[in-house]
């Protein structure tokens, strides 16, 4: 049995940031399914928001304005105290990462460069070419090396050990050896990223399955606002690899088959830089109305007018991706794009410090939901979320552990949980069913994107829920072909799927019950926002029969809900 005072699950930005914060004070270790630098945060392109006012066009930008944009972008579902905290901390957090080595792009004066992003009143998104996430991720990993933070890589968390109202540790599957390992701890910080792979057409990494999130869910940790799923307007047609919002921030156009910049119809002022939910819906409407290019499921992202120079300097990664994956050089041709699933606004229900219902259990990053993104996240705010709340949860966890009197409790619970997990996995391995779990996975993804997608309505979602439940039933009848130990992808993917089905159900139920349109949750049968009934967070709690939905109130401080126009 391994023992560390604090365990951080996930080596993405949020996990690393948390570990960096707590490691100097309390013995902290990182557990990650992949090596930290492989984490999905590395795929983030566009940038990270902070009101540094470095851009000449943003001289009078302040954190209050950032907060307002965020709240408005969230369609007023964000908790405003959390938003204020995040936007206030943004500057210091960005400077900190810069001091640790993050190679941000620079302005003429040598300061951190900032670009315009959707839904923001000022150019406020700090960037490093179009690989911001990767540079930040590498920087934080490097920092963790400097601090000598122990790392357990190639380990996937398969169970959470809770006893009474406190967390005791986690059970991990060592992917290299195939053995189950017990990690005991005083506090656990979950930073396992999003669960985008539940959806088809996802821009997320293939490991963004939310496996740790669903594990917690099954152990009684409630999920919040799961029905809010962001669709990014511009993902490559076919592979759904992301074309950053920065492409539009730098001045890219969206064009339909008639050659119109159709955004003028939907957001005359902000045009291509309206928030993501609006742009995605606009593109989807164009496609649905037959104005996709050649009548197909995509429109064009046109960057040609930016010129070779600017594309090479500001968007080199985008260019490589377009060349490698659709064989289009944006310098010469417009890029075919379509909306794709991008971000899960919802997640493990936490308070402003990342704390959950269980003592010692924290969550940060995309897997959690403090709620700073509400019903729709602004581009560049989630990288900020990971570092600000990663840091916060690290701090709070360290304080909690330092203030704790008894340690190393719960060996019994650890062992019991290990036995249960072992039985669960052995059970899965010995099933001799007729179903192929990858088919179930594909059907789930298809169902979710088609029926709980950009536009939703009751009949579709009911169908989706029925489908997901049918898939769950079929899952009981799968076979895992690979009975081996080392790097058993077959087993891992089956375990992931089991969790994803639970979460998919929570998403569908939450979405069905929310009878309004708000942010990314856009219902054809309830087109208006309903602040009387639904200015509330959806809380889904696991039960074997399906999620139990309750609601909790939204914290409104300064900004009173009003209509959202761009």
């Amino acid at each position: 049995m391994y023992y560390h005072k604090i365990l951080v699950i996930g080596g993405g930005l949020a996990g690393l940031r948390a570990a960096i914060e707590s490691a100097p004070k309390v013995d902290t270790a990182i557990i990650s399914q992949v090596h930290p630098v492989r984490s999905h945060s590395g795929a983030a392109q566009g940038g990270v928001n902070a009101s540094l006012a470095n851009n000449p066009a943003a001289k009078d930008d302040t954190w209050e304005k950032h907060a307002f944009d965020t709240v408005k972008g969230s369609d007023y579902l964000a908790d405003q105290d959390a938003v204020e905290f995040m936007t206030k901390e943004a500057g210091p957090c960005i400077y900190e990462i810069e001091h640790w080595g993050c190679p941000f792009s620079r302005t003429d004066e040598g300061k951190i460069a900032q670009r315009p992003f959707g839904g923001a009143g000022y150019p406020r998104t700090c960037f490093a070419a179009d690989k911001t996430g990767m540079y930040m991720l590498h920087t934080l990993w490097e920092r963790s090396v400097k601090l000598n933070v122990p790392l357990y890589e190639d380990r996937i968390m398969v169970d959470l050990v809770v006893e009474g109202d406190a967390v005791r540790g986690v059970i991990c599957l060592n992917m290299k050896t195939g053995e189950l390992e017990q990690f005991m701890a005083e506090a656990v910080i979950i930073a396992s990223g999003g669960s985008g792979q539940i959806y088809g057409r996802s821009t997320n990494a293939l490991i963004s399955t939310g496996s740790a999130q669903s594990t917690c869910y099954r152990r009684g940790v409630p999920l919040k606002d799961m029905e809010f799923v962001q669709f990014h307007p511009t993902s490559l047609f076919g592979t759904n690899i992301l074309m950053t919002e920065g492409a539009r921030g730098e001045g890219g156009y969206l064009v339909n088959n008639l050659g119109e910049r159709f955004m003028s119809k939907y957001a005359a002022k902000a045009m291509e830089l309206a928030p993501r939910d609006i742009v995605s819906r606009s593109i989807q409407t164009e496609i649905n109305d037959g104005r996709g290019i050649n009548g197909q499921d995509f429109v064009h992202l046109d960057l040609r007018h930016l010129g070779r120079e600017k594309i090479l300097e500001r968007l080199p990664g985008i260019r490589d991706l377009a060349i490698n994956f659709v064989d289009v050089d944006p310098i010469e041709k417009p890029v075919p794009i379509q909306p794709g699933q991008h971000y899960t606004m919802g997640g493990i229900d936490t308070d402003i410090s990342g704390a959950t219902k269980f003592k010692g259990l924290y969550a940060a990053g995309e897997c959690g939901c403090v709620s700073v993104h509400g019903a729709n996240r602004l581009g560049g705010n989630s990288l900020l979320d990971t570092v600000v709340f990663g840091k916060k949860s690290g701090q709070v966890a360290a304080e909690y552990v330092l203030g704790k009197k008894t340690t190393k409790e719960g060996e019994g619970a650890m062992n019991k949980c290990l036995r249960e997990t072992k039985a669960r996995i052995d059970g899965m391995l010995s099933r001799k069913g007729t179903e192929n779990h990858s088919d179930i996975r594909a059907e789930m993804k298809e169902t979710m994107i088609k029926k709980v997608g950009i536009f939703r309505d009751k009949p579709l979602m009911e169908e989706a829920l029925a489908n997901v439940r049918a898939l769950k039933a079929r899952f009981a009848n799968i076979t895992v072909q690979n009975k081996g130990k080392g790097y058993n992808l077959d087993l891992i993917r089956a375990l992931e799927l089991e969790g994803m089905l639970d979460v998919a159900e929570a998403i569908a139920v939450g979405a069905l019950k929310r009878e309004e349109s708000r942010g990314a949750h856009s219902r054809l049968d309830f087109k208006e926002r309903d602040d009387v009934k639904f200015l509330q967070h959806t809380i889904a709690t696991y039960s074997p029969k399906g999620p139990v939905i309750t609601y909790s109130s939204v914290k409104v401080t300064k900004y009173k809900p009003e209509a959202r126009r761009y």
Binding site: V145, N148, P150, L151
Partner: protein
Amino acid sequence: MSEQRVATSKVAGTWAWAFQRISAVLLIVFLGVHLYAAHFMDVGAETGEEPLITFDEVSLRLDQLLYIVVDYGMLSMVLLHGLNGFRTVLFDFDMFVRRKKLIDVTLWVVGIGTLIWGIVILFPFISGAGG
């Protein structure tokens, strides 16, 4: 997690490398002179009739200090460059890196030994022509 130790000691690395380059360039010069002198230049009275290297011819040549310098210089360069290069080759392999001390000492002994040997070899030529 492995400990973060500094990769290696800072022994001859830099100098060995620099020396290999410097000796390489010098060698090109020496080699040019050596080959030209040995094969294409007639120092002796005899002419093109007997182009092959003969004892007398070599002796005659080595009468001049310049050629003694060239030949000995070349010899030492070749040895240093060659053995230093050989050392590089060895240290590209784990098993030899582990025996670094031993190899360094051995190579120095071999090098100096050979140099003396080489110096001695040419004595007959030098003295032969003189006496």
